[in-house]
């Protein structure tokens, strides 16, 4: 626990958490993929005082509908958003079930450079067998195998972030050297299914290591900075938070709020005519903003932050922005990120020492 103030994250994939959210969006369906919309949502969240936005992703189209909703890759959206904002943290979802950890590491390190240290990574898994067919790779068949790929993938990605020391670029005119090769490291990773040599092609990220978020069941606690936990009620969220051995814990909360035009229940009912809002075992608040403020106040006793998953972004984000965050702010229950601060600093996480540099120093003093 970092203190009583909560960090608020918001998931801004698609038009909202409900699979039919696009039907209540404030824009024509095809504008979902327009740059103006992508940047606009992020600046709304930034201005509201959220600590972090997350962007869901996967190789398969979102949802289960036969006629898919379009989705731009999370890393590309995150980079675009990073260049359109100044303060808010940005964490794309990237699975390493089939992806190349070398590419993922470089993409995320680049995002951290682009955002001047505001980047995070939500580690996910490609669970559906269709993902293997899409990638054209052998099926990673069960939960154990997926956990292995996540573990190895995160290890490689993190090692590559450390494969450059912060000051590896020396620009020594006297010796004609741009790099000090003593400050670059081969990671020489060998896992169960593949090996990676290194070093990275992207210099060490400004944060040293990006903030890594994930579910404790999928990623070993020692690899996580933020555990994402869920439960249907406060008690089970509290239990999950206690069990999670990560430095920070965020709870998942699905929200549908009363708006000036319709109650939360009416809005949910309207969308349920088209598709069900699948119960994923998460806390779900359907009702007025004031009740959500109370719920978040309660949650602040158990967790460091909450990731909100709004029913319909265009409807719920304005209510969050106008009513929920100001009310929390008044009670000093929410921590607003400060300009020029890295995501790690905002979350009260230390900038980690470089594992290879530390080892090299030890070697020298031995």
């Amino acid at each position: 626990m970092s203190g009583p103030a909560l960090h608020l994250a918001v998931e801004i994939d698609g038009d909202g958490a409900h699979p039919a959210a696009w039907r209540r969006a404030a824009h024509a369906p095809d504008r979902l993929l327009s740059p103006r919309r992508v940047a606009g949502l992020a600046t709304t969240a930034e201005n509201a005082g959220f600590t972090l936005i997350t962007l869901d992703d996967g190789v398969l189209p979102p949802g289960t509908a036969a006629d898919p909703v379009g989705r731009i890759g999370a890393v590309e959206r995150a980079a675009f958003v990073a260049a359109s904002t100044s303060t808010i943290g940005i964490a794309p979802v990237v699975a390493v079930t089939y992806a190349e950890p070398f590419h993922v590491s470089g993409q995320l390190a680049s995002l951290d450079h682009i955002s001047a240290g505001r980047a995070g990574w939500v580690v996910a898994q490609e669970e559906h067998p269709d993902a293997a067919r899409a990638w054209g790779r052998p099926l990673v068949a069960d939960a154990d195998a997926r956990a292995r790929e996540s573990r190895d993938g995160v290890q490689v990605v993190r090692a590559l972030w450390d494969s450059w020391e912060d000051d590896a670029v020396v620009r020594s005119v006297a010796t004609s050297r741009y790099l000090d090769r003593e400050r670059l490291y081969y990671i020489d990773f060998t896992g169960d299914t593949y090996a990676v040599k290194g070093p990275a092609i992207v210099p060490r990220p400004p944060q040293g290591q990006l903030v890594v978020l994930g579910r404790p069941a999928e990623v070993p606690a020692g690899q996580l900075d933020v555990a994402l936990v869920e439960g249907r009620d406060l008690a089970s969220v509290g239990a999950a938070a206690t069990a999670a051995a990560a430095p920070r814990v965020f709870a998942e909360v699905e929200v549908a709020l009363d708006t000036p035009d319709a109650s939360a229940a009416e809005r949910v009912a309207d969308l349920e005519r088209h598709a069900p809002w699948t119960d994923r075992g998460r806390l779900r608040h359907i009702g007025p903003a004031a009740q959500l403020v109370s719920l978040l106040g309660e949650l602040s006793r158990y967790v460091d932050g909450v990731r909100l998953r709004p029913l319909v972004l265009d409807e719920d984000l304005p209510v969050l922005s106008r009513l929920v965050l100001p009310a929390l702010s008044e009670r000093r229950l929410v921590a607003r990120p400060l300009p020029g601060t890295s995501l790690r600093s905002t979350l009260g996480l230390e900038r980690p020492a470089n594992r290879f540099a530390a080892a090299a120093v030890q070697e020298e003093t031995r």
């Binding site: 731009i72 004609s176 741009y178 092609i201």
Partner: protein
């Protein structure tokens, strides 16, 4: 060439296209000057891209290397290195530019279509039709050591894989019918039933089955670039590419011969001759007078070819570790111990080192050159040096005789290396009617004056153009 009627040329009204290549590797980028900027700070990329956009450049271009360079098994430490992932950096630039094309060099060997085609598609949508893909191939196990499959691909298969990759990518990009996305919230589904076509492909390189995740962009799909110079690479370009980023743009006869060769291959591939733009990578050095430009070039070469770089390049030619010798002294007295080098590290690929060294000795002796001066004088001669008006006349000849369609400029300084070109050369070109005065449209395809993507044309269109 004798001066003739300016209209008595094969393409009297042709205009130049400029792109800019932010190199990120090689000794051609000067890192030691007071105004040498960061190679990773996003501000450097923004500055170059926005300057290029001010100068109405068609494209901003990023390279890619999937393993940090090494010489003799050790990380090469003399040149700039450490660059961002291209598509990620370009997606950020899409937010701070409005018109310029954004071209990513991405490898077809160590990527998969489902992932890369989708990333490029996302870039294309975020930039509203300004994305390009420079298709590069590799086969070596050395690069493969960073990837799940290792060095799995035979040299002979690298372009086969690239071609199959591109076919799958195009199928994914074309997988949504035009107008597939719902027009209103009352529609049956977000994408019209039946309007999104699964891609099922089984070939030697790929066995995939997936639903494309994104609709077409404002330009249909990303513009395809190709940079390989081998016969196979040229044929690949003639069959598939919209733009060639060649290495033939310094010498007029060489450029023209290359362009004629490409046009021949285009005809053989059943495409119209004007279906492909040829943009050689080129350094441009500008001075107020010819003397000033030459003086500037001399300074630039000395910054690029540092003593250590000169010893490194010569060391590859000789096959001897020359580190610690005096680069500003005479050439090594020894004979070369290798017959050929691999052409890496900015050295010219040679197949007969003894002959080359003999020539170097003769020239160095005649001119009184040091080893470093010899490396500079006899290394690859690249680019153009002159006054704005002199260069404009020279480029008129190149473009109006069909030797090039323009140049992909490689600045020797980051981030200010384009300023002279945009501020001094572009106006000279515009005055001569050799350069546009505004963007032709909003998409990269429009800037380049290209037809719609190859896969969107009917068969007769593909032939006749």
């Amino acid at each position: 060439m004798t001066r003739t009627d300016p209209l008595d040329v094969p393409r009297p009204h042709a205009q130049l296209h400029f792109g800019v290549f932010f190199q990120g590797v090689n000794h051609w980028t000067i890192w030691s000057a007071p105004d040498s900027g960061s190679q990773i700070d996003p501000a450097s990329f923004r500055r170059v891209a926005q300057t290029a956009e001010r100068g109405l450049f068609d494209a901003f271009f990023l390279g890619e290397g999937l393993r940090l360079r090494e010489v003799d098994g050790r990380i090469h430490d003399l040149d700039v290195a450490g660059r961002p992932d291209a598509v990620t950096q370009l997606a950020a630039l899409a937010a701070v530019t409005r018109r310029i094309g954004l071209v990513s060099t991405s490898n077809s060997t160590f990527n998969e279509p489902a992932d890369l085609a989708r990333r490029l598609s996302g870039l294309d949508l975020l930039s509203e039709g300004r994305a390009g893909w420079n298709v590069v191939t590799t086969d070596n196990a050395w690069t493969g050591a960073n990837f799940r499959r290792g060095g799995y691909l035979d040299h002979a298969d690298r372009y086969r894989r690239a071609e199959e990759f591109l076919a799958v990518a195009r199928a994914l990009w074309d997988g949504w019918e035009d107008g597939a996305v719902a027009g209103s919230a009352d529609a049956t589904a977000w994408s019209a039933p039946g309007a999104v076509h699964r891609v099922r492909h089984r070939g030697p390189q790929f066995d995939v089955d997936l639903a494309p995740t994104l609709p077409r962009s404002a330009q249909g799909h990303p513009v395809i670039f190709q940079a390989g110079d081998s016969g196979e690479g040229r044929d690949f370009a003639a069959r598939n590419a919209d733009v060639i980023f060649s290495a033939h743009g310094s010498d007029f006869d060489d450029a023209l011969a290359f362009a004629e060769d490409i046009r021949r291959r285009l005809r053989a591939a059943g495409r119209p001759e004007d279906d492909l733009r040829i943009l050689p990578g080129t350094e441009i050095i500008i001075g107020a007078t010819e003397e000033e430009a030459e003086e500037k070039k001399r300074w630039i070469r000395l910054q690029q070819v540092t003593p250590a770089t000169a010893l490194g390049i010569a060391g590859l030619l000789w096959g001897i570790d020359l580190s610690g010798r005096d680069a500003d002294g005479p050439l090594p007295k020894e004979d070369p111990v290798v017959a050929e080098n691999d052409g890496s590290f900015g050295a010219r690929r040679v197949t007969d080192a003894r002959t080359v060294v003999a020539e170097w000795r003769a020239r160095a002796e005649a001119h009184g050159w040091s080893l470093r001066e010899t490396v500079i004088a006899l290394g690859p001669q690249r680019g153009h040096v002159g006054t704005p008006s002199g260069l404009a006349d020279k480029f008129a000849r190149f473009v109006r005789h069909g030797a090039v369609d323009g140049f992909n400029v490689t600045p020797y300084l980051i981030p200010d290396g384009l300023d002279d070109i945009v501020d001094l050369l572009v106006p000279e070109l515009q005055e001569r009617g050799l350069y546009p005065t505004e963007y032709a449209g909003t998409t990269l395809r429009e800037h380049l004056g290209l037809r719609e993507p190859l896969t969107h044309r009917s068969a007769p269109e593909r032939q006749a153009g």
